[in-house]
């Protein structure tokens, strides 16, 4: 991530990178690169910028034509509305955010606790039809949620998991476990099995060897995997809207979507809620970015 950005905007001459696409010499090439990247960045970031602007505009400025880019009055009212209900007390949106935190956090934790030992087992032990098993595990992710949501809805209704946080946690964990196993298996493969062999000869059991010597080496990989799982659970919309109905259970994505669709749409509130929704993922990814890069590049290092 950080690495690729770094390389993309590099202004150093292409001496040591003999790609045929990089035929332009020195300044010309870097100017072209900078121009292209600027255009691309503007296109990609404009919606984000607009969302942030809308979230701090007063309602009349939101609807102003022509649109106001700079000369509007800044207000934090929309953010207040996200968290505080119109009279007093907590808003339904703030409850939805809390639900999202609980559901995403719990499902990621569950997927990690189940997936990491499974990945270790698939990496370390010889077993029958290992490749088929792994493919089967992955195949559960082939179908998009919208395809399986109706059968799951019916099953959940039978067992009483409909409209419950536990139901969402379980289905997100089920979706994240295959991903965790596959991604973590790659990380476990990178840790030499000899550490565990050596620990077992030192006098530890196999599980102790894993816990003491392999697991600490897997932490960067676990962090990277957990961030991806967390982002999936945090952003998930289809299951959330089908399987929940009450405000006390509903997570943020369907709750924010629910704001749109009345006769009048409070775009300021939608924008503020969206900013609040986007922020935790950004902050979390930023905090673990070192681990993310380490995680993503770990497999690239030849030992």
């Amino acid at each position: 991530m950080a690495v690729s950005v770094d390389e993309a905007v590099s202004t150093r001459p292409a001496r040591d990178r003999g790609s045929p696409a990089r035929r332009f010499g020195g300044r010309g090439r870097s100017a072209l690169e900078v121009t292209l990247l600027t255009v691309l960045a503007a296109v990609m970031l404009f919606p984000v910028l607009w969302m942030i602007e809308t979230s701090i505009k007063e309602n009349r400025d939101v609807y102003a034509i022509p649109a106001k880019f700079f000369d509007f009055k800044v207000t934090m009212d929309h953010y207040k509305d996200v968290f505080v209900a119109s009279g007093s007390g907590r808003s339904t949106l703030s409850a939805a955010f809390l639900n999202s935190v609980v559901v995403a956090g719990a499902s990621t934790a569950l997927a990690t606790v189940l997936g990491v030992p499974a990945a270790w087992a698939y990496s370390r032990f010889a077993m029958k039809a290992k490749k088929d098993q792994l493919f089967f595990i992955l195949s559960t992710r082939f179908m998009p949620p919208v395809v399986v949501v109706i059968p799951i809805f019916l099953m959940y209704r039978q067992v009483g998991l409909i409209d419950s946080k536990l139901g969402l946690i379980l289905i997100y964990a089920a979706f994240n476990v295959p991903f965790t196993i596959w991604m973590m298996k790659g990380f476990v493969d990178e840790v030499p099995a000899e550490y565990e062999d050596a620990a077992m000869l030192d006098g530890y059991t196999r599980l102790q060897a894993f816990w003491r010597y392999t697991l600490p080496l897997l932490l960067p990989g676990i962090a990277a995997t957990a961030v991806f799982a967390l982002i999936f659970s945090w952003n998930e919309f289809v299951f959330a809207i089908f399987l929940t109905s009450s405000d006390s259970v509903r997570t943020a994505p369907p709750a924010i979507a629910g704001l749109i669709g009345g006769t009048t749409v409070d775009w300021g509130l939608v924008a503020a809620a969206s900013v609040v929704f986007a922020l935790p993922v950004l902050v979390f990814a930023y905090l673990v970015r070192k681990h993310l890069v380490a995680g993503v590049t770990l497999g690239a290092v030849r030992r």
Binding site: P192, E194, D197, L201, D202
Partner: protein, 358 residues
């Protein structure tokens, strides 16, 4: 006590038969070397003794007791891995202390034991470093210390010197022999380096494709190889092998040469044979009547001696000679064979035919 015995070990990885009935007896206190080329099953044998891999068949006995199903921790063995397998997040001290921590020794016992072993191996000043801050030789010593810090039943060493440079390897050979002598412990040592095997071992087991080819002292393996393959694998430069057969009181070579038939051979006339002669048992100086006509093919000066390559027919003989030997390629010369020290192998089975009459 520290005897290790394995009986009929079998293990396959997919279609590859890594171990095909390996049986070994390692006496208490011996330096036992398992020698073979890569892929011979040496490491698999060692891992079987350690209990790290499941076997298809066979049993492992430690001190006479069947330990086949035991967990590695229960076997009371220590192992040095080829890549050292030092725990990367721990200091050298913690690495060496690990076997003692696993056995819940007190902090003072651990400190004393680590101090004792690190002074024996001269690594006191490395103790606070992590493996990444150690050179290959230093890592090797730390790995050795982690094994030697305890007094296990036996020490298992998986090519511990392979990743060192030549000078260090020679140094460590002497050092390991010294340590073995001072501890009096059982060492099972795996290597593909025949010099290590010949110089360090009390006993050598030569392994090829999962089968034991020969077990004996280094001298026995070198002087009386059980078959053509062992003869070719042990010894440097490699033994020269010439196709021939017996005819009356002569040995007749496929290339047309003849030699007096060695007294000790009982091979019947006409049976296809291979004559094996080590480079030091050949000479380019004229001595006796057992000589082969050939031509000079090349000279390899090695400093203390020169290896002369002599072409006899289509085969190249390696002859150890003095460094004063000179000549130009193509020059005709006679190679004298010390037939008393030569070997005859059955060309079909490769088994030795030399021993019966000696």
């Amino acid at each position: 006590m520290g005897t290790v015995a394995v009986r009929g070990l079998r293990k396959s990885f997919g279609k590859v038969q890594a171990l095909d009935g390996v049986t070994l007896d390692v006496p208490d206190g011996s330096f036992f070397v398992v020698l073979g080329p890569s892929g011979a099953g040496k490491t698999t044998t060692l891992r079987a003794i350690a209990g790290l891999d499941k076997l298809d068949a066979g049993s492992v006995h430690l001190d006479g007791r069947d330990a086949t199903g035991d967990a590695p921790a229960a076997r009371d063995l220590a192992m040095v891995f080829q890549n050292y397998a030092l725990y990367p997040r721990h200091t050298a001290y913690e690495n060496i202390a690990s076997p003692l921590r696993a056995r819940r020794c007190s902090a003072s016992e651990i400190a004393a034991a680590v101090e004792r072993i690190s002074s024996l191996l001269h690594i006191e000043r490395l103790l606070q470093r992590r493996p990444a801050q150690l050179s290959g030789g230093e890592m090797q010593r730390v790995a050795l210390a982690r094994a030697l810090v305890r007094h296990p039943r036996a020490f298992l060493m998986d090519e511990p010197l392979t990743n060192l440079d030549l000078k260090l390897r020679v140094e460590m050979r002497t050092e390991l022999t010294r340590i073995h002598r001072s501890l009096g412990a059982t060492f099972v040592y795996v290597t593909n380096d025949q010099v290590e095997a010949l110089s360090m071992a009390d006993q050598v087991a030569v392994l090829k494709e999962g089968k034991v080819q020969q077990i004996g002292t280094p001298a026995e393996v070198y002087e009386r190889p059980a078959n053509q393959w062992v003869a070719g694998f042990v010894g440097s430069p490699p033994i020269s092998l010439l196709a021939c057969h017996a005819e009356g009181d002569r040995l007749v070579g496929a290339e047309g040469w003849t030699l007096p038939r060695p007294r000790w051979t009982t091979a019947e006339d006409g049976r296809p044979l291979l004559l094996g002669v080590r480079a030091e048992d050949l000479s380019v100086e004229r001595r006796g009547d057992a000589s082969l006509p050939g031509e000079l093919y090349g000279l390899e000066p090695l400093g203390d001696r020169t290896v002369v390559d002599v072409r006899v027919g289509t085969e190249i003989l390696k002859v150890k000679a003095r460094t004063t030997v000179t000549g130009t390629p193509g020059e005709r010369l006679l190679v004298t064979v010390d037939l008393d020290r030569a070997h005859l192998f059955d060309a079909g089975t490769g088994l030795t035919l030399s021993e019966a009459g000696r």
